[in-house]
Each structure stands twice: as C-alpha cells, then as structure tokens.
C-alpha cells in the first residue's frame, strides 16, 4: 500500500522542476534586456543568454547531482563531513547571508517598480513592508506550502509571459533584429556576464535536495527546470529587440514591462496592460523572495538547531527590510543587485569546486 503522501514534508521531483524556474524568474528579467542590449548588437544577446543558460543548466545539474549523493542530509551535515564542521558552518552562513541579500533585493526592486508603474505617492517603505510581510507570512507556513505556491503561481506567470509575447508579435519588426553576429568578442563577454548572473537562484538546491523524496531524479528535473527560464529569457529578449529596437531597449528602465505597455488587448476590456503584467509578475517575484528567505531561515536553522524557525524568521525579516531600504537611489540599487548576483555566482562555483575537490581528496563516500 502506498503511504499517505501528504503528511510528510517531502518535496516531489515535479515540485523541484517548478521550484527552479520560480526561483530564477524574478525581477531580473524585467531589466535583463536593457543590460544585455547595452552590451551587444541587436539580437545577438541570445548568444550570451544561451551560453549563460548552458552554464547555468550545467551548474544546476552539478549542484543537484552532488547534493543528491547525500540523501536526507542537510547541507551543513554533508559539508561538515567533507570539510570539517567549522568550515561547513561558515559556508552555510555565507549562503544564508547571500539569500537574505537576494530577498532584500527583490523587496527593494518590487517597491521601486511598483512606484514606477502603479503608484505615485505611496511611500516606497510601505510598499516594501507590505510585500515583505506577505513573504514572511508565507515562510512562516509549511515548507511544502511554499512549493505548492510555486505550483499555483507558475502557470499564471508563464501564461502572462506568453500573452505578452503573442500580443506583441504584431508590433515587432524583424528588421530590428538585424544585423546579426556583429558583436565584438569582448562585448559578448560583457553580455555573458549579464546573461549568466540573471540565472542565479539554483543554489537553493544545496539546501532543498535534502528534502526531496527521490533524490535520484532530482538532478535531471532541476536541469530541466533551469531550461524554462533560459527559453523564456531568450524569447522575451528577442521580443524586446524586435519591438523596440536595440537603442530603445538599452534606454528603457524596465523593457519587459514596457513590452506589456505596447500591448493592445483585443476587445478593449482594459487598457494599460503593463500594470496587469507587473501585478501578475509580483507573484513571480514573491516566489523568488519567499524561497530565498526560506532557504536563509533553513540555513540559519541548521546552524542553530535549538532556535525555532519562527523565531529565526522574526529576527531575520527586520534585517532584510533594513538592507532593502539601504540603497539610496536607482544607481545604488543596481550596483547592489550586480554585487549580489556576482558574489552569489562566484560563491556557488567556489563551493562546488571546494566540496568536490575535498570530497575526492578525503574520500568521502556519497551514497550512489
């Protein structure tokens, strides 16, 4: 007889498949086409996006594969068996800090973009606070609940992204995509830098694999899940260039939201599709923020096992709020974001390499 699946807090591999894109797709895509278009010529941005995506998928697979070798062990447990306890604690702690930064960045960005598109006078602080409270409410619930939220929101997010795509097809001009392959090599590297940092978020696997029901299937599912944002990003980027042309894309603050601005809903039920688009996109950002905060809580919890989850959450959330309110203006926020994503990227590589090499050297057995 099958066991009654629901009672435990295990994650199915289907949920990992959805969790990865839910984590990756957040505020990044809203600004991505702008950053990419300022680096490369016309539609050439798809090359760094694809290359970056390939690296991201590979890294996702590696992280998942490595972590799934230690079934039902938390990151701290297997990291300490590989690289001694103090090192493991430091590694975990840095991850916690990075994930807190991600949450703070999402909170800040959502407030900034909301102010741009739906509010005029409402203070930034209040918008951010209400959003953070909702995130905290989600994290205070069950962890399985978070994954179910991904499941509930992800189809809606995909739907809205595709409707933007379809409604915009009529406005796009293929000529804008030309000329192709005219980007210099260094520009490609610059683009790759933007491209790869936009795929961050798969590091949640370090922590979540421990909760997966059948870890054997997880690497494949995670890698598959990573392909979704790659496809989506390339699609939206090419659409941006097609509709706006490279110059305009590079100059718009949030080109992806502006895409929705162009849309004219057939039937004329409502206008200003960009507000609707952004409001729905809040769900995507919410998913990213809540998972990042949850992983941070999980990481801290594994260090301080005595503390209750809720207590940690209540201690961390004011910190997140304070950090998110720290940057003064748009430029600060941008540099905060790029600092955060770069450190996340290099740190993840560092941890992969460190753990793999140490595991080989010290001959730590993974249960294959």
């Amino acid at each position: 007889m099958k066991s009654f699946k629901y009672a435990d807090e295990k994650i199915s591999e289907k949920e990992i498949l959805i969790a990865i894109p839910s984590m990756v797709i957040g505020v990044g895509i809203l600004t991505l086409p702008k950053d990419l278009a300022s680096a490369v010529m016309a539609a050439d941005g798809w090359i760094p996006l694809l290359a970056g995506g390939f690296i991201a998928v590979l890294m996702t697979w590696m992280v998942a594969k490595f972590a799934s070798g230690f079934a039902n062990q938390t990151f701290l447990t297997y990291a300490s068996s590989i690289a001694t306890k103090p090192v493991a604690i430091v590694l975990t702690f840095v991850f916690a800090v990075l994930f807190l930064l991600i949450t703070a960045f999402q909170v800040r960005q959502i407030a900034a973009i909301s102010k741009q598109y739906i509010f005029d006078r409402t203070p930034l602080e209040v918008i951010a606070l209400t959003f953070l409270l909702v995130v905290v409410y989600a994290v205070s619930g069950s962890r399985a609940g978070l994954f179910r939220l991904n499941m509930m929101f992800f189809p809606i997010i995909l739907f809205i992204a595709f409707s933007v795509f379809i409604f915009n097809l009529g406005w796009s001009d293929l000529g804008n995509l030309l000329p192709v392959f005219r980007t210099g090599f260094t520009d490609y590297l610059k683009g790759l830098n933007t491209g790869i940092t936009s795929y961050l978020g798969f590091s949640i696997l370090w922590f979540y694999i421990a909760l997966v029901d059948q870890p054997k299937k997880a690497p494949k599912m995670a890698a598959l899940g990573m392909c979704i944002p790659v496809g989506l990003y390339i699609m939206l980027y090419i659409l941006c260039i097609g509709v706006f042309g490279r110059e305009v894309t590079a100059n718009l603050l949030y080109p992806t939201v502006e895409l929705a601005k162009v849309v004219d809903i057939p039937g004329g039920f409502f206008e200003r599709f960009e507000s609707v688009f952004f409001v729905i996109w809040i769900m995507a950002i919410f998913n990213t923020a809540s998972m990042a905060l949850d992983v941070a809580v999980l990481a801290i919890n594994s260090i301080f096992e005595r503390l209750k989850k809720l207590k940690i959450l209540l201690i961390l959330s004011p910190v997140v709020y304070a950090v998110s309110m720290f940057p003064q203006d748009k430029v600060d926020v941008d540099s905060f974001g790029s600092m955060m994503s770069h450190s996340m990227f290099f740190y993840t590589i560092f941890v992969i390499v460190l753990l793999i090499v140490l595991a080989k050297m010290r001959g730590v057995k993974r249960d294959e």
Binding site: Y6, F119, G141, R148, V279
Partner: protein, 514 residues
C-alpha cells in the same frame, strides 16, 4: 498544533449524575418501575402498563414513551403476542425459563436485546424503544420500536437540480442510512455508529466504503470524533466545527449536503460521510477547493454542458470574490486602465456621488447582505417582496438620489448573483467574507493590494488541509490525472480512476473488466 485546543478537554471520566443510573435492575417489578419513574420524574408521556401472564402467576410490565414508538408495533407485536400466545400455550414455570421463552419465541419484534442496568433502560426508552419487564428477573427485554412522526422524504430545498434525483435526506437517521444504502448495494459499505452529546446522546454514523477509502482517513476521522465532548450536537454544523482542521479559515473544509446521490458519489470517491440524527445535512470529508465548486448536476447532464457549467462556476467564484475590489481599484487608482470612452462615462455617472468608490461599494455590499439575510428569514412570499423592494426600489432610489453610481449598482448586483450561483451556500458565504477583505485592500493599495491579498489567500490555502488532504489539490500538489474532473468534466468514460489525491485502494472506477 491547532487540534491541541480540542484535545485538551478530552473525555473526563467521572460524572456524579450518571453513576446513579448505572445501578442494576432489581428483581422486583414494582421497584424497577418505581425507579424508572423516579429517574424520569414521572413525565406524563411515559406509558407503563402492568399485566399478568400465565394464569396471573407472573407479573409483567411494558414501558415506553408515547409518541416515540410505533404504537401499531407495540400493540400488535408485543402486547398481543404476549397476552394471546401466553394464554394458549403452556409455558415453563420458572421465571428465568419463562423470560428466555418470551425473549426467544413470543415477542415478534425483530430488533431485540437484553438490558441489565437502569442506564441501558433509560437510553433505550428515550431513544424510542419499548421495555419489557417480568417480575423476579433482573434483566429486561429491550425492543426497538422506534417510530412516531417524522418528516417524509422531500426534495432538498438548498440544493435543487434540474436533472437528477429528487430525494433529500430527512431528520431521521435510519431513513438517511436507508437512502444511502439504496444507492450503494455493496457489502463493503460500512456504517460505524458513535454516540455524541453527553446529554443528548445522539447517534452519529460514519459511512464509508471499505476497500476504496484510505484507512488513514478513517482512522483520522475516528480520532477526531472521539474527542467530541459536548452536551448536545443539535446540527451537523457542531460536529463540523469540532472536527475541522482550522476553525479560523473562512473556507469550509467539510462539505455538507442534503442529497443522498452526492453522498453516495463521495463515498465511492473514497471519502467518508458523517450522518447525525436529527438533521438532514450530511457531512462529507475530506473536501478540497475543487469539490466546493462541484454540483451533482455536472455529472447528470452531458459532459460538454457539465464542463461549461463548471467553467461558469469558476468564473462566478472569481466575480464573487474580486469584482467589487477590481472596480474600486480601477475607479480609485488606475483610471488609465479603463478604456477611454468607458472611463469618461464612468466619470460622468459618478459626477455628484459624494463618497469615494470604496465607501459606495461598502454601502451597497452591506445593503446586499441585509437584503439577503432578510429574505432568508422571512416566509417565502414576504421574502420575495423584500427582494423586489430592496433590489428595485433601493437600487433605483439610491441612484437617483445620487448616493451611488449606476455602475456600482451593476457591479454589486453582478457580484451577488455570482456568489449565489455557487452550488453550496456555505462556500458562497465564505467568498462573501473574502470579498470585504479584498475591498479594503483595494481601497488602500489598488491592484497591488488585490494581488497581495490574492497571494495571502493562496498561502492560506496551500497550508490548509482537510483530514490530511491538502485543500488545493489537485492544483498543488499537482495531480494532472485528476484534472479531468476539475474545471473540465471529462466524459464519464474518460474518468477512469478515482481521484489520485484521495489515495484510494481501488483506483479504477470504470471498465474494470479490461
């Protein structure tokens, strides 16, 4: 965590009053009769008949409560049998043998048992049984003669369908069980009886299908029912509130219905039905969000119609929860989202309305609730009048007085219609509660508030469970296979399996031959 609140007042074993009644039955008939009278304080509907049999050697007595028994049965099958047969036939002298003889052969009532304590007697007699005493024996015979006036089976008022069975449950538990049995003639259909209400001692029956249902659910239902400790459970609503997962959630985690066909279908899906004596409302557990928007009629009409009705209901649920909030958000915050021509004409109709859209909407929504409440409580003819007076006169007058804009009247009316087109009243009310919350959110943050509320609603839903089954399944956790009976109602031939989320034993429900 939530359940601990109830577990705290788990059965307390001692009770002074009751101990008096658990005394043994005496051999003396008069003393027994006296005890019975004393216990019930000689109510005038207590009928006690003393007589002698076997050439007046043995004193006997019969006791029952008038009105609760089937008097034909008492007269024909008890009194007549005892008095006539004992006169014709030689009977053993010894009291114990006589008692056995009467128990075994003479009394022609099918449901019969022996009782030894006063407690047995009181429970039985108050439940409509007839007690047969015989002098010199410390046992009594308890015969089930339950009868009396009950409502006949009628069409359920709360859940009428155009096509489908017209039978509805009644207040009588036995009739209700019979109604379910008529739908499912399977030997594995189980009826487990509990007694609830420390004072009322009502019967409660849990019905499920052995071999289909996941035993964990039965165990869980059993565990929760065991914790019930209250004086009385007048309606199944009491039971529902006691055993549901989260009493703070606006969403019903247990469905209630008056329709035997709905109960039978649920039992076959691997759910349990909880029947309580004295109410026509039967509980069905576990329930999921999708279940709350289903009606039996979806299955009786052809599948295309069924699917369309389902889709319509999801739309209705959306309108019932979101429409006024969206209107407030658009009119008070995001005027740019309204198509230009419409925006100008809404602005024109709102010209001179003194309140902001939120106050206007609250005003109308509360009026709507009042009308609904007034209409329900009043007798049908007056209720209709209230509907007409309220709907037409107040709506019209409010508009011409410039208190509300015509657009708002349309929005609120549409919203009310949508919420009452939902198949279950309790779900409709739950949605109306959410509506007010969303209106407040929309008034403060516009669309942003609505989406945050929507996210919060989802967070609440994904954390909600009904008897261990996540409330949002099969959306999340995702069981794509179950989607054929969710928004879409696939053809009967295509719904081959019972819902996966119920984790049933016997998965297939059609075409088992192949």
């Amino acid at each position: 965590m939530r359940r601990s609140l109830f577990r705290r007042n788990k059965k307390k074993e001692t009770n002074n009053n009751e101990e008096n009644f658990s005394i043994k039955i005496f051999k003396n008939l008069d003393k027994n009769m006296g005890n019975l009278k004393k216990m019930l304080d000689e109510p005038n509907d207590l009928v006690i008949r003393k007589f002698t049999i076997h050439d007046s050697k043995h004193k006997c007595g019969v006791a029952y409560i008038d009105g609760m028994v089937d008097s034909d049965l008492v007269h024909n099958n008890i009194m007549k049998s005892v008095q006539l047969i004992t006169g014709r036939k030689p009977l053993p002298e010894a009291e114990s043998k006589l008692f056995e003889e009467i128990y075994q052969e003479i009394l022609s009532v099918t449901s019969i048992k022996k009782g030894t304590t006063l407690d047995d007697i009181s429970n039985a007699i108050l439940g409509g049984s007839t007690i047969f005493y015989i002098n010199g024996i410390d046992n009594v015979i308890i015969m089930d003669t339950q009868g009396g006036e009950t409502r006949s089976i009628e069409e359920p008022i709360t859940e009428t369908v155009i096509r489908g069975s017209r039978e509805g449950f009644v207040e009588n538990l036995r009739t209700n069980i019979v109604l379910i049995r008529r739908y499912i003639r399977d030997p594995n259909l189980r009826f487990k009886t509990y007694q609830v209400g420390r004072r009322s001692k009502k019967s409660l029956v849990v019905s499920y299908m052995d071999g289909i249902i996941n035993p964990d659910i039965v165990k869980e239902v059993n565990r929760r029912l065991e914790t019930i400790d209250m004086d009385d459970a007048p309606e199944s609503g009491y039971i529902e509130e006691w055993i549901e997962d989260s009493f703070l959630s606006p969403f019903p985690q247990i469905l209630n219905t008056e329709r035997p066909d709905k109960v039978a279908a649920a039992i076959l899906e691997g759910k349990v039905a909880i029947l309580l004596d004295g109410t026509p409302f039967v509980l069905i557990a576990p329930a999921t969000l999708g279940n709350t928007l289903q009606s039996p009629e979806d299955y009786y009409e052809r599948w295309t119609i069924g699917t369309l009705l389902r889709a319509l209901r999801y739309l209705a649920a959306f309108i019932a929860v979101f429409l006024p909030a969206l209107y407030i958000a658009l009119v008070s915050f995001h005027q740019g989202m309204i198509p230009s021509d419409l925006a100008f004409s809404i602005a024109a109709t709102r010209e001179g309305v003194p309140f902001p859209a939120f106050v206007e909407a609250m005003l109308m929504a509360i009026t709507m609730e009042l009308l609904r409440e007034a209409g329900t409580r009043l007798p049908t003819p007056i209720g209709q009048t209230i509907g007409i007076v309220g709907g037409l006169v107040i709506g019209e007058a409010a508009v011409s007085a410039g208190l509300v804009s015509p657009a708002m009247v349309i929005v609120i009316a549409l919203n009310a219609i949508a919420s009452f087109s939902l198949p279950s009243y309790s779900v409709a009310i739950a949605f109306r509660i959410l509506l007010f919350g969303l209106m407040v959110a929309a008034a403060i943050f516009g669309l942003y508030g609505i989406i945050l509320c929507y996210i919060m609603l989802n967070i609440h839903l994904v954390n909600l469970k009904s008897f261990g089954v996540p409330y949002t399944t099969p959306f999340a956790p995702n069981f794509l296979g179950d989607w054929n009976d969710l928004v879409l109602r696939a053809p009967v031939t295509a719904i081959k399996r019972r819902p996966t989320y119920m984790q049933t034993h016997d998965e297939k429900s059609v075409n088992k031959g192949d």
